[in-house]
């Protein structure tokens, strides 16, 4: 499912125009992006939570050439699956 399919699904389920549904979906993900950029956590009960994790820099190697390279410290968003979603996905049927 991509963003336009999500927008269509929302419009159909809630009886919204596509334009309105698009505004809703864009606003939600823009706000989630802003929160992460400002290092704020996101907690959506039943779905999951996001937080930005910091990773220290380290000395790595190019596995092909063996060349030593410095990997700088970095920050990456991390998603932890919520309990309900975890259980629904894991139900092997």
């Amino acid at each position: 499912m991509n963003k336009s399919q999500l927008i269509e699904g929302l419009a159909k389920a809630e009886g919204l125009t596509l334009k309105k549904a698009e505004m809703v979906v864009n606003t939600l993900f823009e706000n989630m992006t802003d929160a992460l950029v400002e290092n704020e956590r996101i907690e959506i009960r039943g779905f999951g939570s996001f937080k930005v994790k910091s990773y220290d820099g380290y000395q790595g190697r190019n596995p092909k050439t063996g060349e030593i390279i410095e990997v700088g410290e970095k920050k990456l968003p991390f998603f932890k699956v919520g309990k309900e979603l975890k259980e629904r996905v894991d139900r092997l049927d």
Binding site: M1, L6, K20, F29, T33, E40, I42, L76
Partner: protein, 103 residues
């Protein structure tokens, strides 16, 4: 304070996109649709934000780290998330501009 569904509902209301009641339903529906897709093994891609993928994990041998006992970890299905390049860039650029946030 983490960003919650209530805060997202408030934003939709303040931006005059939907009434409070409709915004609450819409937020639930959005996450509900994403969950439904993942539960039926469908990946979800939100361009500019990231992608959730359903992965099948094989059964493997593991060990209880507390007791050291050997055990078998059953096959399972999990969800992983990969942030889009845009989101990664925004997060690292902000860190560079606000060095105090770096750690």
């Amino acid at each position: 304070m983490p960003l919650t569904k209530a805060a997202l509902v408030q934003v939709l209301f303040e931006k005059e996109i939907l009434s409070k009641a409709d915004a609450a339903r819409a937020v639930d529906t959005v996450f509900g649709l994403i969950k439904q897709a993942l539960a039926s093994e469908e990946d979800v891609l939100i361009s500019g934000f990231g992608k959730w993928t359903v992965k099948d994990k094989r059964e493997r041998r593991g060990r209880n780290p507390q007791t050291g006992q050997d055990l078998t970890i059953n096959a399972r299905r999990v969800v992983t998330f990969k942030a889009s390049g845009v989101l990664r860039r925004l997060i690292s650029e902000y860190t560079t501009k606000h060095p105090r946030m770096a750690k």
